[in-house]
Symmetry: C2
Subunit: 134 residues, 2 copies
DNA sequence: TAATAAAATTGTAATCATTACAATTTTGTA
DNA sequence: TACAAAATTGTAATGATTACAATTTTATTA
């Protein structure tokens, strides 16, 4: 999927984020590479277009996106945090063979014992072997 | 809940783990402190009974327990991994106020899009505010 | 029981993702 | 153009976990 600069700018503005060059490139990378990348992945994906880019700026940008609610974090059994531009509820499947992280729809979860608790976020993470690795 | 030394020894033997002093004390701590402790928590909980204990031994022990399948890991939005002696499928609720991690039963999850995938492990993590922190 | 091998434990150093922070550069505005 | 605010950078610090070699404990054999 391709995004125009205007679309990217509007996306950021709508979410109360000033559109700097780095922010636009990171956003573009996240929108066009739905692989749940780590900070390092993002850095490597953007460094060619912004040769002066620092890792710190990637972290700054991601943390800003997080605060503004346009990315969510994935805590899987890696040591790196992964990021997802899709903040709607959905499940994640991590393949133990190839390392890929897949999205899948979650229709409903039946739970009990949380009466009186305020639930703000749900994570559903599966692990196993993906269809390409059988 | 209290566990006798014999129960602890049998628990380890049944899972193909040689019962050393450290392993017994770590197991006892995990069984009697259902707080999803970090490695540091375990270290602090056992150091009084084994003053020569090293952090490395705690990690060694936990990693052995993990390999043998008697503990599971919890990847929440902390920077530390937490451990759970209960390896049966259940959900976890992390309170953003007090930091406590609660267990809750999960009856069913309806998902799609994973035809042909082998699912080996499921994690269900919720975040929010617990009933004691309202 | 003493000798030996195997297993467990320890302490220290290394790793590595992320953050802290101060300096520099860029941007927006008067 | 001049100034202030915001963004970006580079380096150092942090902290959880692992690597590894040395030491201690336990089990096995003669
Ligand atoms: Mn996703
Ligand atoms: Mn639990
Ligand atoms: Zn795979
Ligand atoms: Zn609470």
């Amino acid at each position: 999927m391709e995004f125009t600069n205007e679309e990217l700018i509007n996306f950021l503005k709508k979410n109360d984020i000033r559109p700097s060059n780095i922010r636009l490139k990171v956003l573009k990378y996240l929108l066009e590479n739905r692989i749940h990348p780590s900070a390092e992945d993002i850095y490597n994906g953007v460094i060619d277009e912004i040769p002066t880019l620092s890792r710190t700026s990637v972290y700054n940008t991601i943390n800003l996106f997080k605060e503004k609610g346009i990315v969510s974090e994935l805590y899987l059994d890696d040591k790196e945090v992964r990021y997802d531009i899709n903040t709607k509820l959905h499940g994640h499947f991590k393949c133990e063979e190839c390392g890929r992280v897949y999205d899948f729809p979650v229709t409903s979860i039946l739970h009990s014992g949380l009466e009186g608790f305020v639930i703000k976020k749900k994570e559903i993470n599966y692990y196993g072997v993906c269809i390409n690795c059988q």
